[in-house]
Protein backbone atom coordinates (compact mmCIF):
# COMPACT_ATOMS: atom_id res chain seq x y z
CA UNK A 1 0.00 0.00 0.00
CA UNK A 2 1.26 3.43 -0.88
CA UNK A 3 2.31 5.68 1.99
CA UNK A 4 0.74 9.03 2.60
CA UNK A 5 2.83 12.17 2.19
CA UNK A 6 3.43 14.10 5.39
CA UNK A 7 4.02 17.42 3.68
CA UNK A 8 4.02 19.09 0.28
CA UNK A 9 6.49 21.69 -0.81
CA UNK A 10 8.75 22.80 -3.62
CA UNK A 11 12.49 22.65 -4.05
CA UNK A 12 13.69 26.12 -4.92
CA UNK A 13 16.94 26.49 -6.86
CA UNK A 14 17.23 30.12 -7.81
CA UNK A 15 14.07 30.79 -9.78
CA UNK A 16 13.47 27.13 -10.64
CA UNK A 17 10.91 25.28 -8.54
CA UNK A 18 10.39 21.50 -8.36
CA UNK A 19 7.16 20.49 -6.57
CA UNK A 20 7.66 17.53 -4.20
CA UNK A 21 5.87 15.44 -1.61
CA UNK A 22 7.69 14.44 1.55
CA UNK A 23 7.48 10.95 3.06
CA UNK A 24 9.16 9.48 6.13
CA UNK A 25 11.92 7.05 5.09
CA UNK A 26 12.02 5.44 8.53
CA UNK A 27 9.69 2.92 10.09
CA UNK A 28 10.48 2.53 13.73
CA UNK A 29 10.55 -1.09 14.89
CA UNK A 30 11.52 -0.49 18.49
CA UNK A 31 9.52 -2.65 20.90
CA UNK A 32 7.12 -0.14 22.46
CA UNK A 33 6.28 -0.50 26.12
CA UNK A 34 3.67 1.39 28.10
CA UNK A 35 4.18 2.68 31.61
CA UNK A 36 1.67 0.96 33.89
CA UNK A 37 0.50 1.45 37.42
CA UNK A 38 2.06 -1.45 39.34
CA UNK A 39 -1.13 -2.20 41.29
CA UNK A 40 -3.92 -1.81 38.77
CA UNK A 41 -1.77 -2.76 35.74
CA UNK A 42 -3.40 0.12 33.92
CA UNK A 43 -1.82 2.76 31.73
CA UNK A 44 -0.75 5.85 33.65
CA UNK A 45 -1.06 9.52 32.78
CA UNK A 46 1.31 12.39 33.39
CA UNK A 47 0.89 15.85 34.86
CA UNK A 48 3.10 18.62 36.14
CA UNK A 49 3.62 19.04 39.88
CA UNK A 50 5.38 21.50 42.14
CA UNK A 51 8.18 19.28 43.49
CA UNK A 52 8.22 21.09 46.86
CA UNK A 53 4.54 20.80 47.73
CA UNK A 54 3.77 17.81 45.54
CA UNK A 55 0.66 19.62 44.29
CA UNK A 56 -0.51 19.39 40.72
CA UNK A 57 -0.16 22.59 38.69
CA UNK A 58 -2.99 22.89 36.16
CA UNK A 59 -2.03 23.53 32.55
CA UNK A 60 -3.43 27.09 32.48
CA UNK A 61 -1.12 28.10 35.36
CA UNK A 62 2.07 26.76 33.76
CA UNK A 63 4.51 29.35 32.42
CA UNK A 64 7.47 28.80 30.14
CA UNK A 65 10.88 30.10 31.07
CA UNK A 66 14.30 30.29 29.48
CA UNK A 67 17.11 29.67 31.95
CA UNK A 68 19.67 32.47 31.57
CA UNK A 69 21.80 31.18 34.44
CA UNK A 70 21.24 28.49 37.07
CA UNK A 71 18.01 29.30 38.92
CA UNK A 72 17.18 32.44 36.89
CA UNK A 73 14.50 32.33 34.23
CA UNK A 74 13.11 34.81 31.73
CA UNK A 75 9.38 34.18 31.43
CA UNK A 76 8.08 33.97 27.87
CA UNK A 77 4.35 34.23 27.27
CA UNK A 78 2.41 32.01 24.89
CA UNK A 79 1.72 35.10 22.79
CA UNK A 80 5.41 35.96 22.50
CA UNK A 81 6.31 32.39 21.59
CA UNK A 82 3.63 32.32 18.94
CA UNK A 83 5.08 35.46 17.39
CA UNK A 84 8.43 33.65 17.06
CA UNK A 85 6.87 31.07 14.80
CA UNK A 86 8.20 31.29 11.25
CA UNK A 87 5.94 32.54 8.46
CA UNK A 88 4.37 29.62 6.60
CA UNK A 89 6.15 28.67 3.39
CA UNK A 90 6.28 25.78 0.94
CA UNK A 91 9.81 26.54 -0.26
CA UNK A 92 12.72 24.21 0.38
CA UNK A 93 15.44 26.72 -0.41
CA UNK A 94 18.61 25.13 -1.77
CA UNK A 95 21.35 27.62 -0.85
CA UNK A 96 24.39 25.81 -2.24
CA UNK A 97 25.88 22.48 -3.25
CA UNK A 98 28.87 20.59 -1.85
CA UNK A 99 30.66 17.38 -2.95
CA UNK A 100 28.91 14.29 -1.54
CA UNK A 101 31.66 13.29 0.88
CA UNK A 102 32.00 16.67 2.56
CA UNK A 103 29.29 16.39 5.22
CA UNK A 104 30.45 14.25 8.13
CA UNK A 105 28.15 11.48 9.39
CA UNK A 106 27.66 13.44 12.60
CA UNK A 107 25.35 15.98 10.99
CA UNK A 108 22.70 13.66 9.60
CA UNK A 109 19.59 13.29 11.67
CA UNK A 110 16.57 11.91 9.83
CA UNK A 111 15.94 10.95 6.20
CA UNK A 112 12.81 11.71 4.20
CA UNK A 113 11.95 10.58 0.71
CA UNK A 114 10.92 13.27 -1.71
CA UNK A 115 8.55 12.14 -4.42
CA UNK A 116 7.42 14.12 -7.48
CA UNK A 117 4.24 16.14 -7.02
CA UNK A 118 2.79 16.32 -10.49
CA UNK A 119 5.54 16.96 -13.03
CA UNK A 120 8.07 14.08 -13.06
CA UNK A 121 10.44 15.43 -15.72
CA UNK A 122 12.12 18.02 -13.53
CA UNK A 123 12.20 15.65 -10.56
CA UNK A 124 14.11 12.89 -12.36
CA UNK A 125 16.32 15.38 -14.20
CA UNK A 126 17.38 16.74 -10.79
CA UNK A 127 18.08 13.17 -9.57
CA UNK A 128 20.40 12.58 -12.53
CA UNK A 129 22.04 16.00 -12.26
CA UNK A 130 22.85 15.49 -8.56
CA UNK A 131 24.28 12.06 -9.32
CA UNK A 132 26.33 13.20 -12.31
CA UNK A 133 27.76 16.06 -10.29
CA UNK A 134 28.24 13.86 -7.16
CA UNK A 135 26.77 16.78 -5.25
CA UNK A 136 24.54 17.33 -2.28
CA UNK A 137 22.40 20.44 -1.72
CA UNK A 138 22.22 22.42 1.51
CA UNK A 139 18.61 23.28 2.27
CA UNK A 140 16.63 25.53 4.60
CA UNK A 141 12.87 25.30 4.92
CA UNK A 142 9.88 25.80 7.19
CA UNK A 143 7.60 22.89 7.92
CA UNK A 144 4.74 22.83 10.42
CA UNK A 145 5.74 26.04 12.20
CA UNK A 146 9.38 25.05 12.54
CA UNK A 147 12.61 25.97 10.80
CA UNK A 148 14.69 23.09 9.42
CA UNK A 149 18.13 22.79 7.86
CA UNK A 150 19.08 19.83 5.80
CA UNK A 151 20.74 18.16 2.88
CA UNK A 152 19.27 17.17 -0.49
CA UNK A 153 20.73 14.02 -1.98
CA UNK A 154 19.97 11.60 -4.77
CA UNK A 155 20.15 7.94 -3.69
CA UNK A 156 19.59 5.37 -6.41
CA UNK A 157 16.74 6.84 -8.45
CA UNK A 158 15.14 9.14 -5.90
CA UNK A 159 15.63 12.33 -3.95
CA UNK A 160 16.16 12.30 -0.20
CA UNK A 161 15.91 15.27 2.12
CA UNK A 162 17.81 14.84 5.38
CA UNK A 163 17.34 17.01 8.42
CA UNK A 164 20.75 18.05 9.73
CA UNK A 165 21.69 18.96 13.29
CA UNK A 166 22.16 22.59 14.30
CA UNK A 167 25.56 24.18 13.84
CA UNK A 168 26.17 24.50 17.59
CA UNK A 169 24.85 21.05 18.45
CA UNK A 170 27.57 18.86 16.97
CA UNK A 171 30.84 18.37 18.86
CA UNK A 172 33.66 17.95 16.36
CA UNK A 173 36.87 15.97 16.93
CA UNK A 174 38.72 19.28 16.38
CA UNK A 175 37.39 20.54 19.71
CA UNK A 176 38.88 17.59 21.58
CA UNK A 177 42.38 16.38 22.37
CA UNK A 178 44.02 13.12 21.33
CA UNK A 179 44.08 10.50 24.07
CA UNK A 180 47.22 10.50 26.18
CA UNK A 181 49.38 7.48 27.01
CA UNK A 182 51.98 5.32 25.31
CA UNK A 183 51.93 5.00 21.52
CA UNK A 184 51.68 1.56 19.91
CA UNK A 185 54.89 0.13 18.42
CA UNK A 186 55.54 -0.31 14.68
CA UNK A 187 55.21 -4.06 15.09
CA UNK A 188 51.83 -3.71 16.78
CA UNK A 189 50.65 -1.30 14.08
CA UNK A 190 51.73 -3.72 11.33
CA UNK A 191 49.87 -6.59 13.00
CA UNK A 192 46.76 -4.51 13.62
CA UNK A 193 46.72 -3.47 9.96
CA UNK A 194 47.01 -7.10 8.91
CA UNK A 195 44.13 -8.01 11.22
CA UNK A 196 41.88 -5.19 10.00
CA UNK A 197 42.67 -6.03 6.35
CA UNK A 198 41.56 -9.62 6.94
CA UNK A 199 38.25 -8.34 8.29
CA UNK A 200 37.71 -5.86 5.49
CA UNK A 201 34.66 -6.09 3.27
CA UNK A 202 31.78 -4.16 1.83
CA UNK A 203 29.01 -2.60 3.88
CA UNK A 204 25.99 -4.84 3.47
CA UNK A 205 23.28 -3.59 5.84
CA UNK A 206 21.01 -6.62 5.29
CA UNK A 207 23.61 -8.80 7.04
CA UNK A 208 22.75 -7.23 10.37
CA UNK A 209 19.58 -8.21 12.18
CA UNK A 210 18.16 -6.89 15.40
CA UNK A 211 18.21 -10.28 17.12
CA UNK A 212 17.62 -8.82 20.54
CA UNK A 213 14.30 -7.34 19.39
CA UNK A 214 13.28 -10.82 18.21
CA UNK A 215 14.29 -12.35 21.54
CA UNK A 216 12.31 -9.78 23.50
CA UNK A 217 9.19 -10.34 21.37
CA UNK A 218 9.51 -14.11 21.65
CA UNK A 219 9.83 -13.81 25.41
CA UNK A 220 6.76 -11.55 25.61
CA UNK A 221 4.70 -14.01 23.60
CA UNK A 222 5.71 -16.93 25.82
CA UNK A 223 5.04 -14.92 28.95
CA UNK A 224 1.62 -13.93 27.63
CA UNK A 225 0.75 -17.64 27.39
CA UNK A 226 1.91 -18.14 30.93
CA UNK A 227 5.19 -19.98 30.30
CA UNK A 228 7.99 -17.49 30.51
CA UNK A 229 11.35 -19.27 30.30
CA UNK A 230 13.74 -18.98 33.25
CA UNK A 231 16.49 -16.56 32.32
CA UNK A 232 20.04 -17.06 33.51
CA UNK A 233 21.85 -14.35 35.42
CA UNK A 234 24.70 -12.60 33.67
CA UNK A 235 28.29 -13.34 34.66
CA UNK A 236 31.11 -10.86 34.46
CA UNK A 237 34.03 -12.13 32.44
CA UNK A 238 37.77 -11.96 33.06
CA UNK A 239 39.93 -9.67 30.91
CA UNK A 240 43.05 -9.85 28.87
CA UNK A 241 46.77 -9.90 28.41
CA UNK A 242 49.61 -8.31 26.37
CA UNK A 243 48.68 -6.50 23.18
CA UNK A 244 51.13 -8.16 20.77
CA UNK A 245 50.37 -11.72 21.79
CA UNK A 246 46.63 -11.07 21.49
CA UNK A 247 47.13 -9.57 18.02
CA UNK A 248 49.17 -12.58 16.90
CA UNK A 249 46.53 -14.98 18.21
CA UNK A 250 43.76 -13.03 16.43
CA UNK A 251 45.54 -13.21 13.09
CA UNK A 252 46.22 -16.90 13.52
CA UNK A 253 42.64 -17.77 14.36
CA UNK A 254 41.35 -15.79 11.37
CA UNK A 255 43.80 -17.63 9.09
CA UNK A 256 42.54 -20.95 10.36
CA UNK A 257 38.98 -19.89 9.66
CA UNK A 258 39.91 -18.88 6.12
CA UNK A 259 41.64 -22.20 5.54
CA UNK A 260 38.61 -24.10 6.74
CA UNK A 261 36.38 -22.06 4.46
CA UNK A 262 38.65 -22.66 1.46
Amino acid sequence: MAARAIWKGQLKLGTTRVPVKLYSAVQDRTVRFHVLDDRQKKRVKQHMIDPDSGDEVPTEEIQKGYEIEPGRYVILTAEELEKLQPPASRDIEIVEFVPQTKISQQWYERPYYLGPDGDEKDYFALVDALQNKESEGIANWVMRNKYYSGALRAVDDYLFLFTLRDANEVILADELTKPSGAAPTQKELAMAKQLVDMLQGEFNPKEYKDEYRERVMEFIEKKAKGHAPRLKAVKAKPKTTALDSVLAKSIESLRKKEKRAA
Binding site: V35, Y113, A167, P179
Partner: protein
Protein backbone atom coordinates in the same frame (compact mmCIF):
# COMPACT_ATOMS: atom_id res chain seq x y z
CA UNK B 1 13.10 2.48 26.13
CA UNK B 2 14.28 5.47 24.19
CA UNK B 3 17.94 6.19 24.74
CA UNK B 4 18.04 9.24 26.96
CA UNK B 5 20.56 11.95 26.54
CA UNK B 6 20.68 12.91 30.20
CA UNK B 7 24.23 13.39 31.28
CA UNK B 8 23.92 14.44 34.88
CA UNK B 9 27.28 14.90 36.54
CA UNK B 10 29.25 13.91 33.43
CA UNK B 11 28.85 10.17 33.77
CA UNK B 12 29.33 8.20 30.57
CA UNK B 13 26.26 7.11 28.66
CA UNK B 14 27.61 3.54 28.61
CA UNK B 15 30.77 1.74 29.58
CA UNK B 16 31.81 -1.54 28.01
CA UNK B 17 34.28 -3.24 25.77
CA UNK B 18 35.23 -2.64 22.17
CA UNK B 19 36.87 -5.69 20.58
CA UNK B 20 38.59 -6.47 17.29
CA UNK B 21 39.99 -9.93 16.83
CA UNK B 22 40.91 -10.99 20.35
CA UNK B 23 41.98 -7.50 21.37
CA UNK B 24 39.63 -5.87 23.84
CA UNK B 25 39.55 -2.16 24.57
CA UNK B 26 37.47 -1.09 27.59
CA UNK B 27 35.78 2.20 26.64
CA UNK B 28 33.16 4.72 27.72
CA UNK B 29 30.58 6.33 25.44
CA UNK B 30 29.70 10.02 25.62
CA UNK B 31 27.16 11.83 23.41
CA UNK B 32 28.75 13.69 20.49
CA UNK B 33 25.96 16.27 20.56
CA UNK B 34 25.29 19.02 23.03
CA UNK B 35 21.71 19.16 24.14
CA UNK B 36 20.49 22.39 22.56
CA UNK B 37 20.15 25.20 25.03
CA UNK B 38 16.92 26.48 23.58
CA UNK B 39 14.63 24.10 25.41
CA UNK B 40 12.25 25.98 27.68
CA UNK B 41 11.51 24.94 31.23
CA UNK B 42 7.97 24.57 32.59
CA UNK B 43 7.48 26.84 35.58
CA UNK B 44 4.71 27.29 38.14
CA UNK B 45 2.80 30.53 38.85
CA UNK B 46 5.63 31.73 41.13
CA UNK B 47 8.33 30.74 38.67
CA UNK B 48 9.24 27.51 40.43
CA UNK B 49 10.49 24.75 38.08
CA UNK B 50 7.96 21.95 37.78
CA UNK B 51 8.44 18.22 37.56
CA UNK B 52 6.62 15.70 35.40
CA UNK B 53 4.89 13.00 37.40
CA UNK B 54 2.97 9.82 36.60
CA UNK B 55 -0.43 9.33 38.19
CA UNK B 56 -3.06 6.60 38.17
CA UNK B 57 -6.00 7.80 36.14
CA UNK B 58 -8.64 6.01 38.20
CA UNK B 59 -7.53 7.05 41.68
CA UNK B 60 -5.67 10.23 40.76
CA UNK B 61 -2.80 9.06 42.97
CA UNK B 62 0.72 10.18 42.09
CA UNK B 63 3.12 7.33 41.39
CA UNK B 64 6.83 7.10 42.20
CA UNK B 65 9.34 5.34 39.97
CA UNK B 66 8.99 2.11 41.98
CA UNK B 67 5.21 2.13 41.61
CA UNK B 68 5.21 1.82 37.85
CA UNK B 69 6.10 -1.10 35.61
CA UNK B 70 6.77 -1.62 31.92
CA UNK B 71 4.07 -3.42 29.94
CA UNK B 72 3.73 -4.61 26.36
CA UNK B 73 0.18 -4.37 25.01
CA UNK B 74 -0.49 -7.85 23.66
CA UNK B 75 -4.21 -7.27 23.17
CA UNK B 76 -6.29 -4.17 23.68
CA UNK B 77 -5.72 -3.10 27.30
CA UNK B 78 -4.05 -6.47 28.05
CA UNK B 79 -0.41 -6.11 29.03
CA UNK B 80 2.56 -8.41 29.53
CA UNK B 81 4.83 -7.02 32.24
CA UNK B 82 8.55 -7.06 31.44
CA UNK B 83 11.08 -6.26 34.16
CA UNK B 84 14.50 -4.59 33.88
CA UNK B 85 16.08 -7.85 35.00
CA UNK B 86 14.37 -9.81 32.24
CA UNK B 87 15.49 -7.32 29.61
CA UNK B 88 19.01 -7.50 30.97
CA UNK B 89 19.06 -11.28 30.98
CA UNK B 90 17.63 -11.53 27.48
CA UNK B 91 20.91 -10.20 26.07
CA UNK B 92 23.45 -13.02 25.63
CA UNK B 93 26.86 -12.18 27.04
CA UNK B 94 28.59 -11.96 23.69
CA UNK B 95 26.13 -9.30 22.54
CA UNK B 96 27.21 -6.86 25.25
CA UNK B 97 30.53 -6.02 23.63
CA UNK B 98 31.04 -3.86 20.57
CA UNK B 99 32.74 -6.60 18.57
CA UNK B 100 34.07 -5.20 15.29
CA UNK B 101 33.59 -8.17 12.98
CA UNK B 102 33.88 -6.21 9.79
CA UNK B 103 35.66 -3.14 8.46
CA UNK B 104 34.34 -1.20 5.48
CA UNK B 105 35.49 1.93 3.60
CA UNK B 106 34.43 4.78 5.91
CA UNK B 107 32.71 6.85 3.22
CA UNK B 108 30.80 3.89 1.73
CA UNK B 109 27.95 3.94 4.26
CA UNK B 110 24.93 5.87 2.95
CA UNK B 111 23.76 8.63 5.33
CA UNK B 112 20.21 7.22 5.54
CA UNK B 113 21.55 4.83 8.19
CA UNK B 114 22.99 7.34 10.66
CA UNK B 115 21.10 8.16 13.78
CA UNK B 116 23.26 9.57 16.57
CA UNK B 117 26.91 9.96 17.47
CA UNK B 118 28.92 9.03 20.57
CA UNK B 119 32.59 9.58 21.29
CA UNK B 120 34.52 6.63 22.68
CA UNK B 121 37.09 7.31 25.37
CA UNK B 122 39.62 4.74 26.62
CA UNK B 123 39.33 3.33 30.13
CA UNK B 124 42.39 3.53 32.36
CA UNK B 125 45.05 1.17 31.03
CA UNK B 126 43.51 0.73 27.60
CA UNK B 127 44.97 3.85 25.94
CA UNK B 128 47.53 1.90 23.92
CA UNK B 129 45.04 -0.55 22.42
CA UNK B 130 42.66 2.37 21.76
CA UNK B 131 45.35 4.31 19.93
CA UNK B 132 46.36 1.23 17.99
CA UNK B 133 42.84 0.75 16.66
CA UNK B 134 42.27 4.48 16.03
CA UNK B 135 45.52 4.88 14.09
CA UNK B 136 45.04 1.70 12.06
CA UNK B 137 41.49 2.62 11.05
CA UNK B 138 42.28 6.24 10.24
CA UNK B 139 45.30 5.37 8.08
CA UNK B 140 43.35 2.83 6.04
CA UNK B 141 40.17 4.96 5.83
CA UNK B 142 38.03 2.23 7.34
CA UNK B 143 35.03 2.14 9.68
CA UNK B 144 34.29 -0.86 11.91
CA UNK B 145 30.79 -2.34 12.00
CA UNK B 146 29.19 -4.10 14.97
CA UNK B 147 25.92 -4.79 16.71
CA UNK B 148 25.58 -4.73 20.48
CA UNK B 149 22.95 -4.49 23.17
CA UNK B 150 22.90 -1.42 25.38
CA UNK B 151 20.17 -0.41 27.83
CA UNK B 152 17.52 -2.81 26.60
CA UNK B 153 18.01 -2.18 22.90
CA UNK B 154 20.22 -3.62 20.18
CA UNK B 155 22.26 -1.11 18.23
CA UNK B 156 23.94 -1.34 14.86
CA UNK B 157 26.98 0.93 14.97
CA UNK B 158 29.74 2.13 12.72
CA UNK B 159 32.95 3.16 14.48
CA UNK B 160 34.87 5.96 12.79
CA UNK B 161 38.32 7.23 13.61
CA UNK B 162 39.08 10.92 13.20
CA UNK B 163 42.07 12.84 14.56
CA UNK B 164 43.02 9.94 16.82
CA UNK B 165 39.56 9.78 18.39
CA UNK B 166 37.04 6.97 17.93
CA UNK B 167 33.39 7.84 17.37
CA UNK B 168 30.42 5.50 17.19
CA UNK B 169 27.45 6.37 15.00
CA UNK B 170 24.35 4.35 15.80
CA UNK B 171 22.58 3.21 12.65
CA UNK B 172 19.11 2.11 11.62
CA UNK B 173 18.69 -1.57 10.74
CA UNK B 174 17.88 -2.26 7.08
CA UNK B 175 14.30 -3.27 7.97
CA UNK B 176 13.73 0.12 9.61
CA UNK B 177 14.07 1.89 6.28
CA UNK B 178 11.29 1.99 3.73
CA UNK B 179 11.88 1.27 0.08
CA UNK B 180 10.61 3.45 -2.80
CA UNK B 181 8.03 0.75 -3.58
CA UNK B 182 6.82 0.73 0.08
CA UNK B 183 5.99 4.38 -0.47
CA UNK B 184 4.66 3.93 -3.96
CA UNK B 185 7.05 6.27 -5.74
CA UNK B 186 6.77 6.23 -9.54
CA UNK B 187 9.29 4.33 -11.67
CA UNK B 188 12.17 6.42 -12.92
CA UNK B 189 11.70 8.10 -16.25
CA UNK B 190 14.37 9.28 -18.61
CA UNK B 191 14.68 13.05 -18.34
CA UNK B 192 15.05 15.20 -21.48
CA UNK B 193 18.69 16.17 -22.07
CA UNK B 194 17.90 19.89 -22.04
CA UNK B 195 16.28 19.67 -18.58
CA UNK B 196 19.17 17.63 -17.23
CA UNK B 197 21.67 20.22 -18.48
CA UNK B 198 19.64 23.02 -16.94
CA UNK B 199 19.90 21.37 -13.50
CA UNK B 200 23.58 20.49 -13.91
CA UNK B 201 24.26 24.13 -14.65
CA UNK B 202 22.21 25.25 -11.64
CA UNK B 203 24.31 22.94 -9.45
CA UNK B 204 27.64 24.04 -10.95
CA UNK B 205 26.99 27.73 -10.41
CA UNK B 206 26.11 27.15 -6.76
CA UNK B 207 28.83 24.64 -5.87
CA UNK B 208 31.21 25.10 -2.96
CA UNK B 209 34.27 22.97 -2.26
CA UNK B 210 33.59 22.58 1.44
CA UNK B 211 30.59 22.21 3.69
CA UNK B 212 30.24 25.13 6.07
CA UNK B 213 27.95 24.41 9.02
CA UNK B 214 27.22 28.14 9.29
CA UNK B 215 24.98 27.69 6.24
CA UNK B 216 22.62 25.72 8.47
CA UNK B 217 20.41 28.50 9.66
CA UNK B 218 19.07 28.24 13.15
CA UNK B 219 16.56 31.06 13.08
CA UNK B 220 14.58 29.40 15.83
CA UNK B 221 17.35 29.80 18.38
CA UNK B 222 18.35 33.18 17.02
CA UNK B 223 14.92 34.73 17.38
CA UNK B 224 14.33 33.15 20.77
CA UNK B 225 17.62 34.44 22.16
CA UNK B 226 16.88 37.89 20.78
CA UNK B 227 13.55 37.94 22.61
CA UNK B 228 15.15 36.64 25.81
CA UNK B 229 17.78 39.39 25.69
CA UNK B 230 15.19 42.07 25.16
CA UNK B 231 13.03 40.87 28.04
CA UNK B 232 15.98 40.30 30.33
CA UNK B 233 16.68 44.03 30.39
CA UNK B 234 13.54 44.51 32.42
CA UNK B 235 14.06 42.84 35.79
CA UNK B 236 10.35 42.28 36.23
CA UNK B 237 10.53 39.58 33.57
CA UNK B 238 13.18 37.56 35.40
CA UNK B 239 12.33 35.11 38.19
CA UNK B 240 14.94 33.74 40.52
CA UNK B 241 14.44 30.46 42.30
CA UNK B 242 16.51 29.02 45.10
CA UNK B 243 17.23 25.47 44.09
CA UNK B 244 18.33 23.76 47.25
CA UNK B 245 19.46 20.19 47.12
CA UNK B 246 18.98 20.08 43.38
CA UNK B 247 22.56 19.05 42.78
CA UNK B 248 21.85 17.13 39.61
CA UNK B 249 20.67 20.27 37.92
CA UNK B 250 24.06 21.51 36.79
CA UNK B 251 25.05 22.73 33.40
CA UNK B 252 27.43 20.08 32.13
CA UNK B 253 30.20 21.01 29.74
CA UNK B 254 30.45 17.92 27.59
CA UNK B 255 33.64 19.02 25.85
CA UNK B 256 35.44 19.37 29.19
CA UNK B 257 34.27 15.92 30.26
CA UNK B 258 35.42 14.42 26.99
CA UNK B 259 38.82 16.05 27.19
CA UNK B 260 39.24 14.76 30.72
CA UNK B 261 38.20 11.24 29.68
CA UNK B 262 40.62 11.31 26.77
CA UNK B 263 43.32 12.02 29.31
CA UNK B 264 44.24 15.62 28.57
CA UNK B 265 46.73 17.04 31.03
CA UNK B 266 45.50 19.96 33.05
Amino acid sequence: MEAEEENAGGRPFWSGTLTFGLVSVPVSLFPAQRSTRTSLRMLGPDGQPLARKYFAEKTGKDLDADEVVRGYEINKEKFVIVTDEELERLAPEKTRDIDLKQFVPADSIPPIYFERGYFLTPAAGSQKAYKLLAETMEKSGLAGIATFVMRGKEYLVAIFSEKGILRAETMRFADELRSPSDIGLPKKKEAPKATLHKFEKLISTRSKKQFSPSKLEDKQTESLLKLVKKKQANRANVVKVEEEGDKDHKVVDLVQILKKSLGARK
